[in-house]
């Protein structure tokens, strides 16, 4: 059992999830990061050292969610901070989109919130303290051609956030979303140069964000100082969307 509060970060192998796991360790949490493979989980465990652990989790599989959350409860204690970060893209224009491209994105990016949050709620309710932080995207608000599936899922994430915040406020559990703009990760690294330039022209700060800049927003929402914020979406996007 961990003396520290336990935080669970899904999709913590790379990019934003990895930065969030590192931030929460620095903030004094015991962090369990998840990956879809044994190898990924082992690498997370090595990276977090004594302040965390890696676990295999497939957020689209009910059984996997149940068994992983149970093992975290048994080994380290109930997670009181949950960061729903795991996500995928399967971009395509609507006229070409395949059923599995639609369904995979909705299942991994949206249905997973239902499964993982529900599995963690008993512990937070008992503790009368909890933080659920969902990683959305600026695309959930602005939309983006070729990402109807992703935008639908991320818009759904933000609605889920607002509803659950109202449901759980009386138990001192806050629920928020953080909506990154374009962040320098493997996901954006893959974009063609011309597209990157066009993208930067629409960002007042004139650069892509760093994963650490998302992680520090998450860290603040998880901290005691962020305790009066609930049901909101915090946009971290260099000004590309200004509400």
């Amino acid at each position: 059992m961990s003396e520290k509060k336990v935080a669970l970060v899904t999709g913590a192998s790379r990019g934003i999830g990895r930065a969030i796991a590192e931030q929460l360790v620095a903030d004094g949490f015991f962090v369990v990061g998840t990956a879809t493979s044994e190898k990924g989980a082992a690498a997370i465990g090595d990276a977090l050292g004594a302040n965390g652990a890696g676990k295999v989790l497939n957020v689209t599989d009910k059984e996997s969610v149940a068994s992983t959350v149970k093992s975290i409860n048994d080994e380290f204690g109930a997670p009181l901070v949950l960061v729903n970060n795991a996500g995928i893209t399967r971009d395509n224009i609507m006229l070409r989109m395949k059923d599995d491209e639609w369904e995979d994105v909705i299942n991994t990016n949206l249905n997973s919130l239902y499964r993982v949050s529900k599995a963690c709620l008993k512990g937070m309710t008992k503790a009368r303290w909890g933080r659920i932080i969902n990683i959305s995207s600026v695309v959930g608000t602005m939309g983006n051609a070729g990402q109807a599936n992703y935008a639908a899922a991320k818009g759904g994430v933000e609605g889920f956030t607002r509803a659950l915040a109202r449901e759980l406020g009386s138990r001192n559990i806050t629920v928020n979303s953080v909506a990154p703009g374009f962040i320098q990760t493997d996901m954006t690294e893959a974009l063609p140069e011309a597209q990157k330039e066009a993208l930067l022209a629409g960002i007042p700060l004139g650069r892509l964000g760093q994963p650490g800049e998302i992680a520090s927003a998450v860290g603040w929402l998880a901290s005691d100082g962020g305790g009066y914020v609930t049901g909101t979406t915090l946009h971290v996007n260099g000004g590309m969307f200004t509400g």
Partner: protein, 77 residues
């Protein structure tokens, strides 16, 4: 060892913050004891812990009164 009734009543008093004399067998958690839907879920969680049992969701939804809680525990312990 106190009776199942006493243990169930004690949990209800603690969880719902009500007076022991209000916890009558026919009392409904929501209508008589002021519980909301989240309170009733927490009450079931507390019963699970006290009696070291797992109450499936479809059974938990039927536990609406003091008597129904006592009956469930008696039938499953």
């Amino acid at each position: 060892m106190s009776s199942i009734e006493d243990r169930v009543n004690k949990i209800i008093v603690e969880q719902l913050g009500v007076k022991p004399e209000d916890v009558k067998p026919e009392a409904s958690f929501v209508e008589d004891l002021g519980a909301d839907s989240l309170d009733t879920v927490e009450l079931v969680m507390a019963l699970e812990e006290e009696f070291e049992t797992e109450i499936p969701d479809e059974e938990a939804e039927k536990i609406n009164t003091v008597q129904s809680a006592v009956d469930y525990i008696k039938a499953h312990s």
